[in-house]
């Protein structure tokens, strides 16, 4: 590029300021969206990859092959003693267990317990998870009374004094003193594990179910040096299961209960149960949105740049007349294109950097730009886009015979082919934009729906006290605390059960044999309820009655299993058990040699994620529900949740200070289930909105180009009597056609994508045609508004001026 080339580039950018700003800005925004969403996708796929030798670590999954059961699917949890049995049967097995984690225990300081992220691990933990240490070594876990703590916790507990050798009182199963033997670096954000204290797994099994096949209580990890070794090991597992589970599960246990190995790094995007597909889809979708936004921006830029170049045909011709050869012109155009794209890339990087704090806030993330990776990527992008944008004008325009361009009154417009291509690109762009708009509509509707939909219980004014489940609290204390809470003025009712909204940590299911039907019968979730349970939740009764102390047989604890129990089932269980209607179920006895008589049917209650189907369930009744293993209290209150929460906390800390207080409103519990989708929706909406914006910039630029190309025609039409309105209609109409055509592309795309996404939800909105019509209408309105301004301006111009215009 010589001086004049630079000068003419600079002049053309400053002369068409708005055009330059929009064109470069559009590409920059596209690059920024791509960068941010790319970083998000990279972050989501980077979980546990910070660990040394992460590719050799496998988590053992328990896979239930029980199509009818609420627990069908693979879970990354195993029986407590699985690793012990594996070590016996397969000498040389390298593995560890993690028991606990987030709020897994408590640290007691000054007599008050505070929840802490305690995990019990095998002494060989560091053979698998080689956590980077700040002080000390992982070998310390081989001493039973040692604890390793995270750097942050060390600073929090011990400030500037030396933590090593200090004593910590930790409660997990039981309370004991530990000696701080080392400090490990905090686990990074891209880890699913919350661990700040590591203590050795006790030598004696900490629970009765430790070796009970079918139970799951912790996570088991194995290390293999090659994928082949892992596969070979996995193939030995069915016979291992058959052999070891024989006592608890009978013959051929591996038919319904399998053990599988999942690479640790895949666990984040393939979580347990019914949510497994959704996390991956979300990341993929957002990655695609980023990619498509970049594509739209590139298409746009190339489209506009080439269109504009046509307007410079005369300049090219003049340069040729003055002696420029083709190579010089090709160099000039390519150089110009690269230069402008480079500017756009730089602005895009700045935009991404500026918007990251906002995105991090909106998405609860902590993304940063890895410059060592991003800068080379942007250089490559600049070269590619610059080539695309500069290639056409460079080659085509430099080939035009100068004389004919100079002699003709009209610039070469790339002819009909050029127009077609450009129209095609507008169709592509708007197709994606409409699909994005439809998608945003559906996502927003769905995320709003799950917050408002009928869960089968009243979600406002409900609180769950989880601390009562702690094994350190006695039944008497439990009763005393609950009765004190019941006496609070803002509390209406309190009920204890072994489940609550958001879950209690305990999940049970068993098979219910049906009379006259062979086999074990369907698997139903069962839940222990105490007095007032259905009253607290405001559960609707569909048929029969709920538990009642006047019916002495209702209390399950007062009867032997063989004597039979009274149960209440939920709506979903009605069909699972083969009854025609709730009324039909009432009074029937099911359950084979452990007879259960249905006394009532209640509405389904959605305690968990809207993605999970509500399970077919039955409820049993304890007059003294404190005696359940996992007793949690559900509290119905009125007024300000914070005040009630404070009052409940005060009661708790007075009565049982040694057990950490843990309570949450139903709203908070449920929000946890919605968060990931809310975040994805926000990111999607931002990406989609910007993609639409870029599309509009492109349309605007094309409209301005086209209007310019047609100024003479407009003049002719006006002399022939066309009114301003006729002209505006003509120009707008020209752009409406591709926008309308774009619907044909957008609708199937959006339909397939949204149906797939919604399929991940059990509780979901219908995919109404209104979303599609709305998206298209919005796109059309936006398109019309975008081109209307210039069309009106062009249509108002005096025809005499237009006719002189060349």
């Amino acid at each position: 590029m010589n001086r004049f080339a630079l000068l003419s580039l600079y002049r053309s950018l400053t002369r068409h300021k708005l055009y330059a700003a929009l064109n470069v800005g559009g590409l920059a925004v596209g690059i920024a969206v791509f960068l941010v969403l790319g970083l998000y996708a990279r972050f989501e796929t980077s979980y546990e990859k910070w660990l040394p030798r992460h590719d050799r670590i496998y988590v053992v999954q328990t896979a239930w092959n029980l199509p009818e059961s609420p627990f069908n699917g693979a879970y990354p949890y195993t029986m407590g003693g699985l690793l012990d049995q594996m070590r016996e049967d397969f000498p040389g097995t390298v593995g560890t267990r993690i028991r606990g984690g987030k709020n897994g225990g408590a640290v007691i300081r000054g007599g008050v317990a505070a929840p802490a992220d305690v995990a019990q691990v095998d002494p060989q933990f560091f053979d698998v998870f080689d956590l980077p240490m700040v002080r000390g070594s992982g070998m310390a876990l081989r001493q039973p009374a040692n604890v390793l703590i995270s750097k942050t916790l060390a600073r929090q507990y011990f400030g500037t004094s030396d933590p090593i050798g200090q004593t910590l009182t930790i409660a997990m199963d039981k309370t004991a003193n530990y000696r701080v033997a080392g400090i490990f670096r905090d686990l990074p954000k891209n880890s699913d594990y919350n661990i700040s204290l590591l203590v050795p797994m006790p030598a004696a099994p900490p629970s009765e179910q430790w070796f009970h096949w079918g139970s799951t209580s912790l996570q088991t990890f194995l290390r293999f040096d090659t994928p082949e070794a892992a596969r070979a090991f996995e193939q030995k597992l069915p016979s291992f299961v058959d052999r070891r589970a024989l006592a608890d599960m009978g013959k051929d246990a591996s038919k319904i209960h399998q053990l599988k190995l999942l690479p640790l790094t895949r666990m984040h995007l393939e979580p347990a149960g019914s949510a497994s597909a959704s996390a991956k889809i979300t990341v993929i979708t957002l990655g695609i949105v980023g990619l498509l936004t970049l594509l739209v921006a590139i298409v746009n830029y190339v489209n506009l740049a080439t269109a504009r170049a046509n307007l410079r045909a005369r300049e090219v011709a003049m340069r040729k007349v003055l002696g420029a050869d083709r190579l010089a012109l090709v160099r000039q155009f390519l150089g110009e294109a690269m230069f402008t794209v480079g500017i756009a890339a730089l602005i895009g990087l700045i935009l991404a950097e500026l918007s990251l704090p906002l995105v991090n806030a909106a998405g609860g993330l902590s993304l940063t730009i890895p410059y060592a990776l991003v800068v080379p990527a942007l250089v490559v992008l600049t070269l590619i886009v610059g080539l695309l944008a500069g290639f056409y004008p460079a080659l085509l325009l430099s080939r035009f015979p100068a004389a004919s361009v100079l002699a003709s009154a009209r610039s070469p417009g790339g002819g009909r082919v050029g127009t077609r291509v450009r129209e095609g690109l507008v169709v592509l762009q708007f197709g994606l934009a409409i699909a994005f708009m439809v998608g945003t509509g559906v996502l927003v509707a769905q995320t709003r729906h799950v917050r408002q939909s009928d869960l089968g219980f009243q979600r406002d004014g409900l609180m769950v006290l989880l601390s009562t489940r702690d094994s350190l609290i006695s039944s008497a204390q439990n009763r005393a605390v609950v009765s004190a809470i019941r006496d609070l003025p803002s509390v209406r009712t309190v009920a204890i059960g072994n489940n609550a909204v958001g879950g209690s940590g305990e999940n049970n299911a068993d098979n219910v044999p049906l009379p006259g039907v062979a086999g074990d019968g369907p698997s139903l979730r069962w839940i222990v309820t105490g007095p007032d349970f259905f009253k607290v939740y405001g559960t609707r009764l569909l048929a029969g009655r709920v538990f009642d102390d006047n019916h002495r047989d209702d209390d399950a604890l007062s009867r032997q299993l063989e004597q039979g129990r009274n149960i209440v089932i939920n709506r979903r269980a009605v069909s699972t058990l083969g009854f025609r209607s709730p009324e039909d179920a009432v009074g029937k006895t099911i359950g084979g040699n452990r007879p259960r008589t249905i006394i009532g049917v209640v509405e389904d209650m959605r305690f968990f994620s809207p993605r999970e189907p509500t399970s077919a369930s039955y409820y049993i009744y304890y007059r003294e529900p404190e005696r359940a293993t996992t007793a949690v209290a559900s509290i119905r209150f009125t007024g300000n949740p914070r005040e009630t929460m404070d009052a409940v906390r005060a009661i708790w800390q007075r009565a049982v200070p040694q057990v950490p207080f843990e309570a949450e409103t139903a709203d908070t519990q449920l929000t946890k289930f919605y968060e990931a989708d809310d975040r994805a929706t926000r990111l999607f909406a931002i990406g989609a909105g910007l993609a639409v914006l870029i599309g509009c910039v492109g349309l605007w630029g094309l409209a301005s180009y086209n209007t310019q190309m047609r100024i003479k025609e407009i003049g002719i039409r006006k002399t022939l009597g066309a009114s301003s309105r006729d002209i505006a209609r003509l120009l707008v109409g020209q752009f409406l056609r591709p926008v309308l055509l774009a619907n044909l592309l957008a609708w199937p795309l959006a339909f397939v994508a949204m149906r797939t996404w919604l399929a991940g939800f059990d509780d979901r909105v219908a995919l109404s045609p209104l979303f599609f019509i709305g998206g298209s209408l919005l796109a059309t309105v936006i398109a019309v508004l975008t081109v209307l301004g210039q069309s009106l301006r062009a249509s108002r111009a005096a025809p005499a001026w237009a006719l002189r215009h060349e």
């Binding site: 006006k718 002399t719 022939l720 009597g721 066309a722 009114s723 005096a798 025809p799 006719l803």
Partner: protein
């Protein structure tokens, strides 16, 4: 019968710093059925005057009466309607729309009229009249200059205008084609059309019945052709 009366028409262009006066104190009357030629050197205001007559340029002062209509007082929308129903334009550079065929270009002359009658018949009649019917399906760039100008004339007359305004209609044509175009205009005038034509060619100006000469935005001479 008087068709047009211009009274004291002014046209000033104001750009950033320069003010140019294109028309000064123009008084002009054109009778129905007249064939008026406007001559003068480049920049004297001929085209501006013609554009003013055609309402595609608005005067900055004075009165423009067309019949009993005061065009200076009319809004853009009414002017567009007026042009569509009353005027026909012929340009030096033809100004055919490149993407439309000759037939479609001619039909465009009816596109903005409320009542076009039998459009197809009128289009082919207009094309017949200027001898271009055999080129109906061609695009402008496939035609010679003379043929393009004849097509442009067909477009101007297809709506049966009261007034035809021609801006150097032979300026881009060779002598033979120029003669042909002039003959068509002459014939149209003989049939009763009113024509105002800007030209540089004295011989073509002589074919008009009246001729005015302009200089620096004023009419400096007016002459009737002796019949």
């Amino acid at each position: 019968m008087l068709m047009i009366r211009l009274e004291n028409i002014q046209r000033r262009y104001v750009s950033d710093e320069v003010e140019t006066t294109a028309l000064r104190d123009i008084d002009l009357e054109v009778a129905a059925g007249e064939f008026l030629a406007i001559m003068g050197p480049s920049g004297c205001g001929k085209s501006t005057l013609l554009n003013t007559l055609g309402t595609v340029d608005r005067p900055t002062g004075g009165r423009y009466m067309f019949g009993d209509q005061d065009l200076a007082a009319m809004g853009e929308k009414d002017l567009a309607k007026f042009r569509g129903s009353t005027l026909g334009f012929v340009f030096q550079s033809f100004n055919l729309i490149d993407e439309l065929t000759i037939e479609e270009n001619v039909a465009l002359g009816l596109a903005y009229r409320a009542n076009g009658g039998d459009r197809r018949a009128r289009v082919s009649a207009a094309m017949d009249k200027v001898g271009i019917a055999h080129r109906a399906r061609h695009f402008p760039h496939q035609l010679s200059g003379g043929q393009q100008q004849r097509a442009a004339i067909a477009r101007a007359i297809v709506g049966d205008p009261k007034l035809i305004l021609a801006d150097e209609p032979t300026g881009n044509l060779d002598t033979a084609n120029g003669e042909q175009v002039m003959n068509i205009l002459q014939a149209l005038n003989d049939e009763g059309a009113t024509i105002v034509m800007v030209t540089h060619s004295p011989s073509h100006a002589d074919m008009a019945r009246r001729r005015i000469d302009m200089l620096d935005g004023r009419i400096v001479a007016s002459a009737m052709r002796s019949i």
